[in-house]
């Protein structure tokens, strides 16, 4: 069964979107770790781990799509008669493993980001881990199960960060909420990604979401240089 519903004309472009997403997520990871090294705030470390997991998930899917892209090109150049976007058997193991880890890491990362603003970080971890593994494992039978799970996590993240925004009234938090909302919309569309134009639309929405996150990074970096954050002075 196919898991990647990329239309042939879009193959390659979606890899570029994934590469861009990976870079943004990795930047967030680097920022979190830089912060943790400076003030030893463990929540920054967990945030960094969350972003790292999602960026690794993106990396695994980039490598797989890259393999599919080259495999397809090869098939086209050799035969020209049978053009198929099914993965040949030699790629099957890598294909399934990398998509499994893509799903697993993304859901785990989203769960960590969801948990961070909460006072209590522990609780229900075993249960949630179980469901994350199930959702990741079942992706090739029910591909939409992963997208629905991701959608639920994103909805919970949005709810939590709306609460954070109500307390801090920071534009940055609002930007993060917008980015997460766009990601949530893209997940809804991914559920119907068998329709090729919806797949492309969801990829474009995902790209806009990561551009929003890039704006957030630039804003944090610029503000840090020009503005003093007040500390009960």
């Amino acid at each position: 069964m196919r898991i990647v519903f990329t239309p042939d004309w879009f193959l390659g472009h979606d890899v570029l979107i994934d590469v861009f997403s990976f870079i943004i997520l990795f930047l967030f990871f680097l920022f979190s770790i830089k912060g943790y090294r400076l003030n030893k705030n463990k929540r920054l470390l967990y945030l960094g781990i969350g972003f790292l997991l999602i960026s690794l998930a993106e990396l695994s899917v980039i490598l797989t799509k890259f393999a599919i892209f080259y495999d397809t090109t090869l098939t086209q150049s050799i035969g020209g008669l049978i053009i198929t976007y099914q993965v040949v058997s030699s790629l099957d193991i890598i294909y399934y493993l990398s998509f499994f880890f893509n799903r697993l890491f993304t859901l785990a990362g989203l769960y960590i980001i969801y948990k961070l603003p909460l006072k209590k970080l522990s609780g229900d971890i075993i249960l949630v881990t179980y469901f994350i593994i199930i959702a990741s494992f079942m992706f090739h039978q029910f591909y939409y199960l992963y997208h629905l799970t991701a959608l639920i996590f994103l909805a919970l993240i949005i709810r939590n960060y709306i609460n954070v925004y109500l307390k801090n009234k920071l534009v940055n938090t609002k930007i993060f909420i917008i980015a997460m909302s766009l990601l949530a919309i893209s997940q809804v569309m991914f559920v119907f990604s068998k329709i090729s134009y919806l797949y492309v639309t969801s990829q474009i929405i995902q790209l806009i979401s990561y551009i929003t996150l890039l704006i957030l990074i630039i804003k944090i970096t610029k503000n840090g240089k020009t503005k003093q954050v007040k500390h009960n002075l």
Partner: protein
């Protein structure tokens, strides 16, 4: 009201100094909301870390160094990042 940790106090002191350019010790004490003893302790540490230095003028004034300014900017980014995520 949230208690300031050591790094936040250092950040506040550096913020006061960089805002004024050159500043007297007593002004740092009032503007960074510190006791005399606290201020002495923190300034000693900032001198040791080469985050601040005395000016060449006759008056006993303090200014921020490039190293101090770099730390200040980096820490401002981290604080902004933390606030964004409600950490």
């Amino acid at each position: 009201m949230e208690r300031r940790n050591k790094l936040n106090i250092i950040y506040d002191i550096l913020g006061v100094i960089q805002k004024r350019g050159e500043i007297k010790k007593t002004h740092i004490m009032y503007q960074a909301n510190l006791s005399h003893n606290q201020m002495k302790l923190y300034l000693d540490e900032l001198y040791k870390k080469k985050f601040i230095e005395n000016t060449d003028s006759e008056k006993p004034l303090i200014k921020i160094t490039k190293k101090g300014m770099d730390f200040f900017k980096q820490y401002a980014q981290v604080l902004e990042f933390e606030k964004t995520f409600g950490l």
